[in-house]
C-alpha cells in the first residue's frame, strides 16, 4: 500500500511536454540497444528528434528507420554536440523540457519519469541529470553529478570502480550533470543560450550547468533515474572519422571552461596554476610513457593561452548573464586538496600493482581496480573459519612484508640523525638541488676543482629525489637499507614471466633479494651494485619482451633499463653486451635491430661517462660511490669466487651458497626446459666471468687511488642468481607438469631443504649481523667542524705516516657528497699537488705553502693519531700556523699565505652538453611511450 502511495507522481496529473533529442555519430555498436531501451520506457517523451552527425557506419539509416525521416536531421561532419542539439531543437516542436540522449547511452523504463519527479519538485530546478552506470558492466557507477577540480580534472566524487549499491541515491544539488540523459527546462535553455559551441564535445555539460547556476537556476541529480553509458568517445571505442575532435580537445575544453567560469578573484591564481600545472603534467606524461597525452597537453595550452581574446569574450558573456554571486558555486566545487589526494591514490595503486600484480587488473578508464577476492568476500559476508590462512592466500605479500621487516631490524643503528655513509657510500647532499646543480654546473668546486662531466647517476638521483627534495638522504636510505625487499620485488615481477608456480617464484625472488645483502653490497655501501641488482630483473624482463615481440620500442626500453643500471654500475653494460650478443646469435633475425638499439641507447644516454670507460676499460669496475671503499683486506680465494662471495666486510659465509651451486648443476643435468635453463646458466657464466676477471685485476684512477681492488658484487649476484633461477625453472617444471609426484617424497624434501639453505641461512645471518659496518649513520667528519664551516675554504687532509706512506685528499668545506666522487681532477693538476705535498712532507719550504695557497688550500688537517714525524715536518714548515682541532690527537695547521685564487668558470659548452644529455633521456623515455595510448578521458 505504501509503495503504491509513494509511486504516485504529482506531475502525472498534468504531464509536462518533453522533447527528446538523440545525437548520434558512428554509434552503430550501441544504437540498436539504445533504441530498444527507449522503446520500453513507461513514460515516453512527447516528441522525438534525432541528429546524425555524418555517420559512416549505418547509424543514420537506423535512426531514419526508427524515427522516420521527418524526425531526423543530418549534420555535417565536425558538428559538435551542442550544435547538433541546436539543429534538432530548430526542427522539433516546442515543449516544457528537453531531454538529451547519446547514441551510446541506454535508459531504463522509468528513467525519464524519475527525472521528471525531481525536475518538478521545485520551480527553480532547471537541469536534472540521472545516475550513470557503466555499460556494459551495468553495476559500476560512473557519475552521480559532477564537478571540476582546480586542475581541470573532472570530479565525480566516487571511488574507482565503485559498484552501485544505492549508496548515492539521495537527490542533491550538484555543479553539473552529464549531457547523457540531461533533462533541461526549455526556458532555461533559451535563457542560457544552450551549449557554448566553442566546446564541441567535452565540458559542454559542465559549462552549461555552471552558467545555469550563476543565472540562479538549480542543477540536481536524480539518482533514481538511471542511465547506462558506454562513454564511447571518451574510451576511444567510437570509429574515427573525418571532422572528429583532436585528442587535445578534452584538456583544452577543461582549461577553457575552468578559466571562463571561475570568479574574477580566483582567475589570476588559477591562470598561473593551470599553466605550470600543465607543464608538470606534460613532463609527467612523458615519464609515464604517454607522449600523445603529453602532446595533447601542449596543444591544449597553446589553444587556451595563445588566444586570451577568446577567453575574454567568454568571461564577458558569462558575467553579463550571471544573476548570482560567483561564491554561490563554491560549495559545489571540490576541496582544493582533491587533486593531490588523487595523486596519492595513483601512487598507492602503482605500488599495489608492483607489490601484488596478480590482484590488480585494468578497470577501464577510471583506474585499476582490485579484483574481488576471498578476503573481500569475507569482509562483506563475515568471517569464516574455513578460509585458508593469510600466508596461504597472500604468500608474496607476506614474504615481501617479512623482508621489509627484517630489513628494518637489520638496519638497527642506521636510522636517526646524521648521514648514512661508509664504505663506498658518500653522504647524500642536503637537498636534491645539489644533484641538479652538480649535473648542470660548468665548474665543479670539488677537491681541486674540475670541469669534468658529472656522472649520469647524479641526474637520476636528482630526478628520483624530487619527492624528498629537502632530504635526499631518504632516497639513499631507501635504496641501501631497503635493497633486499626492493630487489626481491623486481625479481618477483620478473619471475612471473618464466615461473608459473608462485612458491618457486617467491623463493627465487627472496633468494635474489638476499643475495644482494649477502654479497656485502649493503654493508659496504655499494650503491652502484644495489641499484644494478634492483634494476637488472626489470632490464631482463624488457629484453625477454623485446625478443618475443621484436620492435624498436622494445629495444629502446631494454636499452633504457640497461642504461639505468649501467649508470650506477658500468660493468652491467659489458654483461648486457655479452648477453645481447648471445641473444642475437641464437634469436630471430628480426630481433637484430632491437638488440643493436638496446646496446646503442646506453652508449648514447650515458655519454662521455661511458665512453671514457671504453678508452680506459678498467674503469668499468668503478661504480657509483667511492672506487676505493677503504675496507681494508680485499683478498679472496678461489673458493670465494666459486661460491660467489666478494671481498670485504658484510659478506655472507660462502658455505651458504653451496646449495645454490649444487642445485644449479642439478638443473643443468635435467632434460626439461633446457633452453630456459641454459639461458639462466648464460647469465650465471657472465656473472662468474666478471668475478674471475675482477678477482685478478686492480685499477687506478688518474689523480686518485692506485691499485684499487675490484669489487665483483654484480658478478657474484648474477652468478648465484642465475644458478638459482636455473634450479627454480626445473622446480617450476616439476610442479606444473606433475613430475614431482613421480619423485620420492624424501628426495623432494631434501631438494626443498637444500633450496632453502641459502635464503633462510642468509636471512638469519643478515638479521644477526645487521647491515651496519662499515656503513654507518654519523656526522660528517672529513674535517673539523670549524674548518668545514668556512665558506669556500679548502682543506688538505693528510693521513698515514712518513714511513709507510701518506695519503692526501682535498676537501672543500665539509667534504664531498654522493655524486661528487666521480668528479676527477685533471691528472696533471693532481700530479703537481702530489709533488707539492711530497715536498711539503719531505723538506718543507715557503714555496710549497705558496703552491698550496695558489690552489685555494687554506688549512691542513691530520686526523687523529697523526704520525709524529709527519706532524713534526709540518710543524717545521715555514708559513704554517698550528691551530686547534676537534680531537686532541688530531692536528690542524692554517696556511698563512694569502689565497687569491680566481675560481675558473668552465665552459658554457658543459651546460649545453648536460642539457642535451637530459633532452636525450627525455626523448628516449618519450619514445618508449606507446605502452600508453592517448587517454580519451581526462
Amino acid at each position: 500500500m505504501f509503495d503504491e502511495a509513494e509511486d504516485v507522481r504529482p506531475w502525472l496529473t498534468d504531464p509536462p511536454s518533453v522533447t527528446a533529442v538523440l545525437v548520434a555519430h558512428n554509434g552503430m555498436s550501441w544504437l540498436p540497444k539504445v533504441l530498444s531501451s527507449l522503446g520500453a520506457m513507461e513514460f515516453a517523451p512527447t516528441a522525438w528528434h534525432a541528429v546524425d552527425v555524418s555517420s559512416t557506419d549505418g547509424s543514420g539509416q537506423l535512426l531514419r528507420e526508427a524515427f522516420g525521416p521527418e524526425r531526423l536531421t543530418y549534420a555535417p561532419s565536425g558538428t559538435g554536440f551542442g550544435a547538433a542539439v541546436r539543429l534538432a531543437l530548430a526542427e522539433a516542436p516546442q515543449s516544457d523540457w528537453i531531454w538529451l540522449l547519446h547514441d551510446d547511452s541506454a535508459v531504463c523504463d522509468d528513467t525519464l519519469a524519475a527525472l521528471l519527479d525531481e525536475a518538478t519538485s521545485a520551480d527553480d530546478i532547471a537541469i536534472v541529470g540521472p545516475k550513470i552506470r557503466e555499460w556494459p558492466s551495468l553495476q559500476r557507477i560512473l557519475e552521480v553529478g559532477i564537478t571540476v577540480a582546480g586542475t581541470g580534472a573532472r570530479v565525480t566524487g566516487l571511488e574507482p570502480g565503485e559498484p552501485d549499491a544505492g549508496q548515492h541515491d539521495r537527490p542533491r544539488d550538484v555543479l553539473a550533470v552529464n549531457t547523457a540523459g540531461m533533462l533541461i527546462r526549455r526556458d532555461a535553455w533559451c535563457d542560457l543560450g544552450g551549449f557554448d559551441t566553442f566546446l564541441r564535445l567535452y565540458c559542454d555539460d559542465l559549462d552549461l550547468c555552471w552558467r545555469a547556476k550563476r543565472a540562479g537556476y538549480r542543477v540536481r541529480v536524480a539518482p533514481m533515474a538511471v542511465i547506462f553509458h558506454a562513454e564511447a568517445s571518451a574510451r576511444g571505442n567510437r570509429p574515427v572519422s573525418a571532422g572528429d575532435v583532436h585528442g587535445s580537445e578534452a584538456r583544452r575544453a577543461a582549461m577553457f571552461t575552468l578559466l571562463a567560469n571561475t570568479s574574477l578573484r580566483s582567475l589570476p591564481w588559477l591562470y598561473v596554476r593551470l599553466f605550470f600545472g600543465s607543464l608538470l603534467r606534460f613532463l609527467g606524461f612523458l615519464l609515464a610513457k604517454a607522449p600523445e597525452d603529453a602532446a595533447d597537453e601542449l596543444y591544449a595550452m597553446r589553444a587556451v593561452y595563445a588566444r586570451p581574446d577568446r577567453l575574454h569574450v567568454a568571461r564577458v558573456s558569462r558575467s553579463a548573464a550571471a544573476r548570482s554571486d560567483a561564491r554561490s558555486v563554491r560549495p559545489l566545487l571540490p576541496s582544493p586538496w582533491l587533486p593531490y589526494q588523487h595523486g596519492f591514490d595513483s601512487a598507492r595503486e602503482a605500488f599495489d600493482a608492483v607489490l601484488r600484480p596478480e590482484t590488480v587488473e585494468s578497470g577501464g578508464r577510471r583506474t585499476s581496480i582490485r579484483r574481488a577476492s576471498a578476503f573481500d568476500a569475507e569482509a562483506i559476508e563475515g568471517t569464516s573459519s574455513q578460509e585458508p590462512s593469510f600466508l596461504v592466500r597472500r604468500p608474496w605479500l607476506v614474504t615481501a612484508g617479512l623482508l621489509g621487516l627484517l630489513a628494518v631490524v637489520a638496519s638497527r643503528g642506521l636510522f636517526g640523525e646524521g648521514y648514512l655513509s661508509g664504505g663506498a657510500l658518500l653522504a647524500a647532499p642536503d637537498a636534491a638541488s645539489n644533484w641538479w646543480t652538480l649535473f648542470f654546473e660548468r665548474w665543479h668546486d670539488v677537491g681541486l676543482g674540475s670541469d669534468a662531466t658529472a656522472p649520469p647517476y647524479a641526474l637520476l638521483l636528482a630526478v628520483f629525489a624530487i619527492p624528498v627534495w629537502f632530504n635526499p638522504g631518504l632516497l639513499i636510505a631507501l635504496l641501501i637499507l631497503g635493497a633486499v625487499p626492493l630487489a626481491a620485488l623486481t625479481a618477483h615481477r620478473f619471475a612471473r614471466r618464466w615461473c608459473a608456480n608462485r612458491y618457486a617464484r617467491i623463493g627465487w625472488a627472496a633468494t635474489y633479494g638476499l643475495l644482494v645483502v649477502g654479497s656485502g653490497a649493503v654493508s659496504q655501501g655499494r650503491i652502484g651494485t644495489v641499484v644494478a641488482a634492483i634494476v637488472a630483473p626489470i632490464a631482463m624482463g624488457a629484453a625477454i619482451d623485446m625478443v618475443g615481440n621484436p620492435g624498436w620500442q622494445g629495444g629502446l626500453r631494454t636499452g633504457l633499463w640497461i642504461a639505468l643500471a649501467a649508470a650506477f654500475a658500468p660493468i652491467v653494460f659489458l654483461c648486457a653486451l655479452v648477453l645481447l650478443v648471445g641473444l642475437a646469435i641464437t634469436g630471430k633475425r628480426q630481433s637484430m635491430a632491437p638488440l643493436v638499439l638496446a646496446l646503442a641507447v646506453p652508449a648514447v644516454l650515458l655519454g662521455p661517462w661511458l665512453w671514457s670507460r671504453v678508452v680506459h676499460p678498467s674503469r668499468f669496475w668503478w661504480e657509483a660511490g667511492w672506487a676505493d671503499a677503504g675496507i681494508g683486506d680485499t683478498a679472496t680465494t678461489v673458493l670465494d669466487v666459486a661460491l660467489g662471495r666478494p671481498a670485504g666486510p658484510g659478506t655472507a659465509p660462502a658455505w651458504l651458497h653451496i646449495a645454490l651451486v649444487l642445485l644449479g648443476l642439478l638443473a643443468l643435468a635435467s632434460r626439461r626446459r633446457t633452453a630456459e635453463v641454459l639461458w639462466c646458466w648464460a647469465v650465471a657464466l657472465v656473472g662468474v666471468a666478471v668475478v674471475v676477471v675482477g678477482h685478478t685485476q686492480q685499477f687506478s684512477l688518474p689523480g686518485g687511488s692506485t691499485d684499487i681492488a675490484v669489487w665483483t658484487g654484480v658478478g657474484a649476484i648474477a652468478w648465484l642468481g642465475g644458478l638459482a633461477a636455473a634450479s627454480v625453472v626445473i622446480a617450476d617444471d616439476w610442479v606444473t607438469s606433475g613430475h614431482v609426484r613421480s619423485v620420492s617424497r624424501s628426495t623432494v624434501v631434501g631438494l626443498v631443504a637444500l633450496a632453502l639453505l641459502a635464503p633462510v641461512g642468509t636471512g638469519v645471518w643478515w638479521v644477526v649481523r645487521g647491515q651496519a659496518e662499515p656503513l654507518v649513520r654519523d656526522k660528517l667528519t672529513a674535517v673539523p667542524a670549524y674548518l668545514a664551516e668556512r665558506a669556500d675554504q679548502v682543506t688538505l687532509v693528510v693521513d698515514g705516516s712518513i714511513d709507510s706512506g701518506v695519503g692526501y685528499s682535498v676537501v672543500v668545506e665539509e667534504g664531498p657528497r654522493l655524486g661528487q666522487e666521480a668528479i676527477l681532477p685533471e691528472a696533471s693538476e693532481a700530479r703537481q699537488l702530489t709533488e707539492t705535498v711530497q715536498s711539503l712532507l719531505s723538506n718543507p719550504s715557503e714555496a710549497d705553502l705558496e703552491a698550496l695557497a695558489s690552489r685555494g688550500i687554506s688549512a691542513i688537517y691530520a686526523p687523529a693519531d697523526v704520525d709524529d714525524e709527519l706532524a713534526r715536518r709540518l710543524d717545521t714548515a715555514p708559513g704554517l700556523a698550528p691551530s686547534g682541532s676537534n680531537d686532541p690527537n688530531a692536528r690542524v695547521w692554517l696556511v698563512k699565505a694569502e689565497s687569491d685564487v680566481a675560481e675558473p668558470q668552465g665552459s658554457y659548452l658543459r651546460w649545453l652538453v648536460a642539457s642535451a644529455h637530459v633532452l636525450a633521456i627525455l626523448v628516449a623515455v618519450a619514445l618508449t611511450a606507446p605502452v600508453r595510448q592517448r587517454r580519451r578521458q581526462w
Binding site: L685, V688, V691, V692, H695, T696, S705, V811, N843, R872
Partner: protein, 476 residues
C-alpha cells in the same frame, strides 16, 4: 644432442673460469709504491752559542746558482736588528765556506737558513772557547736542525758538571717541547718538564738543575710536541774535572749501534748507557781498534737496569789508541762516552747512525779552535769500506783526493792536517768523505790541553720522501 653439448660447455666454461681465477690469484697481490728521495732545497740550522768567544762556520758541499742564505741572531727576547749585523752578514755568503766570530753575551743561538733549489748540502758548526773561570776547554758541535726526539746522554746537574739545555724555535709559530730525564736511580720526576713553550724565532736556555738538581749523570730526551724546535745541550765541568763540551745528540735507543770517534791517548773514558725500556738490558761490547778487534775480558758484557743510566769506566786494557765501540743489546739502549785526555778538557763521543756520505769534515771552524789538530776517526758499520777523502778550499775548489780502505774490524784514524795527504793543503777549509758502505765518522779537534769531538753526519742532499698518493679521488 646439441643441447647436451651445450650443457657440458656451460659447466666447462664455469670450471675454466675458476681455474683461471686460481692461476691468477698470486698475481693479484697489491704492490705498494714506495717513496723516493726528495732533494733538500731548504735547510735551517740553529747554531747554539756557548760563550762570548764563539764562532760559527757554515758551508755547502757544492755551490749552485741562485742559492740564498740568511742568518738571524736569536735570544730569549727579540734581538735588536743592528746587533751582530756584520757577523751575520758574513755568514750570508752562499757558494763559499764562511766563518764568523760571535761575541755577543745575549745571543743564545744563530739560525741559518739556506735555500738552493738544486740541493747544496748545507752544514754549519759552532765552536767556542770557555773561560777558565767557567770550566775552560773548547767545544765544537754541528749546528742541529729539528728532530722529533733528541737524545742527550751524559747530562749533569751536580757538583761534578752542569749542563744547560738550549731550545731554539726556528719556526714562525710557537713551539712546545717536553723533556724527560733518566738518572742512575731511574726515571726522574722533571719539574715543569712538559709543555715548555718557546716563542717563534727565539731561543730559551734552561739549566738542567732547574729540571732535576743534584744528578751526576742523566740522560735527556727532548721531544718536540709542536713547532720547529731544535735542542742542544752544553756541558761544563765544575770541580772534579775541567773543561766544557757540547753534548752531541745520540741516536734513538736501538739494539745495535756504534759509538765512534774515540780519540787516541785518552786517560779517562767513561761509557754512559741509558736503558729507557722496562727490562734490564744485557749488552755485548766489541771494541774496534786500529789494528783490529780488541779483546777486553772484563768489558765484554754490560748490564743496564730498566729505566736507568749506568756509567762504565772503559778499562785501560783497551789501549790508548783511538777506537770505535760496537754494541749489541737485547733491549733498546743508547750511549755516549765522555773522554777526558787531560785534566783541562773533555768531550763526548756518541752513538750515531752509520752513513756513507758525503760527509763534510770542517777544518776552518773559527778562532776558538783553529789551533787544534784535525783528526777524523772512521769505524765501519756492517762491512769494510773504501773511503774517498777530498779536500776543498773556501770556494769549494778541490785541493786533492786521498783514498783509504777501512776493513770491517778496524778503526781508521786519519790526520787531516798531515802533510802529503792531499796534493795541496794550502787554504784547506773542509774535507768531504765519501764511502761506498756506511760508516761512523767523527772529527776530533785536539791539542795537548783541549779536545772537541764532533760526530759527523752526511750532508743533507736528499731526504727520504714519504710515498704520497691521493686518496680515493683526492677529494676527501
Amino acid at each position: 644432442m646439441v643441447t647436451a653439448w651445450r650443457r657440458q660447455v656451460a659447466v666447462l666454461v664455469a670450471a675454466a673460469f675458476l681455474i683461471v681465477a686460481a692461476a691468477l690469484q698470486q698475481a693479484s697481490d697489491v704492490q705498494r709504491e714506495v717513496g723516493g728521495l726528495a732533494t733538500v732545497v731548504e735547510t735551517v740550522r740553529a747554531c747554539p752559542i756557548a760563550t762570548n768567544k764563539a764562532s760559527i762556520a757554515a758551508g755547502q758541499l757544492r755551490a749552485n746558482e741562485g742559492a740564498k742564505s740568511s742568518a738571524a741572531a736569536l735570544a730569549a727576547e727579540e734581538v735588536p736588528g743592528e746587533l751582530l749585523a756584520g757577523e751575520l752578514d758574513a755568514l750570508e755568503a752562499p757558494g763559499q765556506w764562511t766563518t764568523s766570530a760571535i761575541s755577543s753575551k745575549i745571543v743564545d743561538a744563530v739560525a741559518l737558513r739556506y735555500r738552493d733549489d738544486e740541493g747544496a748540502g748545507f752544514v754549519a758548526f759552532t765552536s767556542a772557547a770557555t773561560a777558565k773561570s767557567a770550566g775552560g776547554g773548547r767545544a765544537v758541535a754541528e749546528c742541529p736542525t729539528t728532530e722529533q726526539v733528541s737524545w742527550f746522554v751524559g747530562v749533569g746537574s751536580s757538583s761534578m758538571h752542569q749542563s744547560r739545555l738550549v731550545l731554539t724555535n726556528i719556526g714562525d709559530t710557537p713551539a712546545v717541547a717536553d723533556v724527560r730525564l733518566w738518572s742512575e736511580k731511574g726515571v726522574v720526576e722533571v719539574v715543569d718538564g712538559e709543555g715548555i713553550v718557546v716563542d717563534p724565532m727565539t731561543s730559551r736556555t734552561i739549566d738542567v738543575e732547574d729540571l732535576a738538581a743534584g744528578e751526576d749523570e742523566l740522560a735527556m730526551a727532548v721531544r718536540a710536541q709542536r713547532g720547529a724546535i731544535v735542542a742542544s745541550v752544553y756541558d761544563r765541568s765544575t770541580s772534579v774535572f775541567e773543561g766544557s763540551s757540547w753534548i752531541p745528540p745520540a741516536r734513538e735507543p736501538a739494539r745495535k749501534f756504534t759509538v765512534g770517534g774515540v780519540p787516541a791517548g785518552a786517560a779517562d773514558r767513561t761509557l754512559i748507557v741509558v736503558n729507557p725500556g722496562s727490562t734490564t738490558a744485557n749488552i755485548t761490547v766489541e771494541v774496534i781498534g786500529k789494528e783490529g778487534t780488541i779483546a777486553v775480558e772484563d768489558f765484554k758484557t754490560l748490564k743496564v737496569g730498566a729505566q736507568r743510566i749506568v756509567t762504565f769506566d772503559v778499562p785501560a786494557s783497551v789501549g790508548k789508541d783511538g777506537f770505535g765501540m760496537r754494541f749489541s743489546s737485547d733491549q733498546k739502549v743508547t750511549a755516549s762516552m765522555r773522554i777526558s785526555p787531560t785534566d783541562e778538557d773533555y768531550a763526548y763521543a756518541v752513538s750515531r747512525v752509520a752513513e756513507s756520505g758525503p760527509i763534510i769534515v770542517p777544518i776552518a771552524l773559527g778562532k776558538p779552535v783553529d789551533a787544534l789538530g784535525r783528526t777524523v776517526i772512521l769505524t765501519p758499520a756492517g762491512s769494510g769500506t773504501n773511503v774517498t777523502i777530498e779536500a776543498f778550499d773556501t770556494r769549494g775548489k778541490s785541493l786533492g783526493v786521498a783514498e783509504r780502505d777501512v776493513p770491517i774490524d778496524r778503526t781508521l784514524i786519519v790526520d787531516l792536517l798531515k802533510n802529503g795527504l792531499f796534493a795541496s793543503s794550502e787554504s784547506l777549509t773542509y774535507v768531504a768523505l765519501t764511502a761506498n758502505e756506511p760508516l761512523h765518522a767523527a772529527l776530533v779537534a785536539q791539542d795537548d790541553s783541549n779536545i772537541a769531538i764532533v760526530p759527523l753526519r752526511a750532508v743533507p742532499l736528499t731526504i727520504p720522501a714519504p710515498s704520497v698518493t691521493p686518496e680515493r679521488t683526492a677529494i676527501g
